[in-house]
């Protein structure tokens, strides 16, 4: 499909905004799940630590763009 540079840029921007929103929803759902898992497992440290780790990985990967550390590209 033939697209102008500005149209491509806009599409990319929309994609990144949408991805950010999906990550936010996933994080909130995981936090609520955390709460109910804590009630169910009587505060199991192992289960809650694993869930916290999943949350952290989502933020580090999609919000902190850790992958940019391994490339010389200017953008993410």
């Amino acid at each position: 499909m033939d697209q102008t540079p500005s149209a491509t840029d806009k599409t990319k921007k929309q994609f990144l905004y949408r991805r950010g929103l999906i990550v936010l929803i996933a994080l909130i759902v995981l936090e609520i799940f955390d709460y109910f898992m804590a009630q169910w497992s009587n505060g199991s440290i192992t289960i809650l630590a694993v869930l916290a780790l999943i949350n952290a990985v989502l933020i580090i990967q999609y919000y902190m763009h850790v992958a940019t550390l391994f490339s010389l590209e200017g953008d993410h």
Binding site: K10, K13, L24, I28, G43, A56, I59, M64, T68, L69
Partner: protein, 205 residues
């Protein structure tokens, strides 16, 4: 260092490409973040050593609310970063101001409300109260970093309003935003450690 050597070094510095400079900035920030992780990791170890498999009765609704506020602030910080990289200054400014507001609301929730209502006192039964010590140290150290992030974001917002940043000059925004996300990552571990892990003991909230 001789004048010639100094001149050669300066010449070398000028040869660094913008992409390479950005990479070095990112590497420096991540090294800082790793060093900060050791600090917060040590605090978490202290929590498990002193509290073990117990925790005080904290306000669960408040804990969940401030967590969601901080997660939402990370979303808007990410949005601000994307916006400035795509030259969308209006969205950038809106998003960065929302991030600051959510960060301040988080501080009000933790320092203004949780500290005031937490069922812990400096002394409990005549003994040093480990519940109060750990709670105030964990939340206090984290709140101090949130406050630092708010100040950084306010500086970025002010510079951004003056047109300082753009698609080719975004490191200031990216640096402040990545720091903000790190503060969020720390809370993702602190929230369950304070509010959810172990059995609630002591006075009820």
């Amino acid at each position: 260092m001789s004048v010639t050597a100094h001149a050669q070094e300066m010449h070398h510095v000028e040869e660094i490409s913008p992409a390479r400079r950005l990479y070095m900035n990112r590497l420096g920030l991540w090294l800082f973040i790793i060093s900060e992780s050791f600090l917060f990791g040590g605090i978490l170890v202290a929590r498990f050593y002193l509290w073990g498999t117990t925790r005080p009765h904290l306000d669960q609704a408040l804990g969940m609310s401030v967590t969601i506020l901080l997660l939402a602030s990370s979303f808007f910080a990410n949005r601000a970063e994307i916006a400035i990289k795509h030259d969308d200054r209006k969205t950038f400014l809106q998003s960065i101001l929302i991030t600051i507001t959510l960060g301040l609301l988080f501080l009000v929730g933790v320092v203004g409300m949780e500290w005031r209502t937490a069922p812990v006192t400096p002394m409990m039964d005549g003994e040093f109260n480990v519940y109060g010590a750990v709670l105030f140290f964990m939340t206090g150290m984290h709140a101090f970093h949130v406050l630092t992030g708010v100040i950084l974001l306010a500086i970025v917002a002010r510079l951004g309003a003056k047109g300082h940043y753009g698609p080719t000059n975004f490191w200031g925004v990216e640096g402040a935003v990545v720091y903000w996300h790190f503060v969020d990552v720390v809370w993702v571990f602190f929230y369950p450690a304070l509010y959810l892990m172990g059995t609630a003991v002591g006075p009820v909230h």
